[in-house]
């Protein structure tokens, strides 16, 4: 891996700006895969009830950065990656706002697509972030989902070191 940027921040980010920085001066990039997570109005566990008005995101300063660093390093062991950018916002985020960005560049698309999905799956189950869902008249800490744990587990089966 040539470069790794990890940022945990309150302020919003620009997908265009992040991609422009990743591309600048690098003629070897053939593929740039990105993922952006947004605050969704309907809560899976609670869809019959009220719409979500915002989320509150909390992290463990120091440990969360370490978790993300380890996830990126594990992705780098599996695929020929050039650059990785991971941005995660914290604090109160309204519906439709951006929560998380993962960008992975590589020479070819397979590595970029796979590493981007891998990083998101591990971020959801291994990085120290907690999310509270806020509706007009209640606040509720979001429960960890079994489907997320399964998504992380499936990578153990497909472990192929490059």
């Amino acid at each position: 891996m040539r470069s790794l940027k990890i940022s945990i921040q309150e302020q919003d980010f620009s997908i265009d700006d992040e991609c422009a920085v990743m591309r600048a001066g690098h003629k070897d990039i053939g593929a740039l895969a990105t993922f952006t997570g947004l605050v969704r109005e309907l809560d899976d566990e609670n869809s019959s009830q009220q719409s979500v008005s915002s989320l509150y995101l909390e992290h463990y300063p120091g440990m969360t950065e370490k978790n993300l660093q380890e996830i990126a390093e594990e992705a780098d062991l599996r695929w020929p990656i050039l650059d990785i950018v991971i941005i995660h916002r914290i604090g109160e985020l309204k519906v439709s706002e951006q929560i998380v960005f993962v960008g992975v560049s590589s020479m070819h698309r397979e590595a970029a697509f796979a590493a981007c999905a891998f990083i998101m799956d591990f971020l959801k189950t291994k990085a120290a972030f907690w999310k509270k869902s806020i509706t007009e008249n209640q606040e509720r800490w979001v429960e960890a989902k079994n489907s997320d744990a399964k998504a992380t587990e499936k990578w153990a089966e497909t472990k192929h070191k490059r």
Binding site: M63, A128, F129, E143, K145
Partner: protein
């Protein structure tokens, strides 16, 4: 002194985000630390910290409740993570 952090729903239920305490020599595992915290703060802490889903990190690495702790360590209790 050990530093203990509480996050998310655990922080809210306990009404505390961080504290520092001197560990007596017999408090040498996470389980013993949990017993000490319950003794100091009262039995209302028991149902929060003894819930099976609670995770613990010592010096910013997730460990088991039988792992060692000592003065100078940074310990954190938190629920399963839900970022992204």
């Amino acid at each position: 002194m050990a530093t203990v952090h509480y996050f998310a729903s655990i922080r809210e239920k306990l009404g505390l985000s961080t504290e520092q305490l001197e560990l007596p020599s017999q408090v040498d595992t996470v389980n013993a630390l949990v017993a000490l915290l319950i003794e100091q703060h009262g039995s209302s802490w028991e149902e929060v910290l003894k819930k099976s889903s609670v995770l613990v990190a010592v010096n910013q690495s997730v460990v088991s409740f039988t792992s060692p702790v000592t003065n100078g360590d940074e310990v954190a209790f938190f629920p399963p993570v839900t970022g992204g």
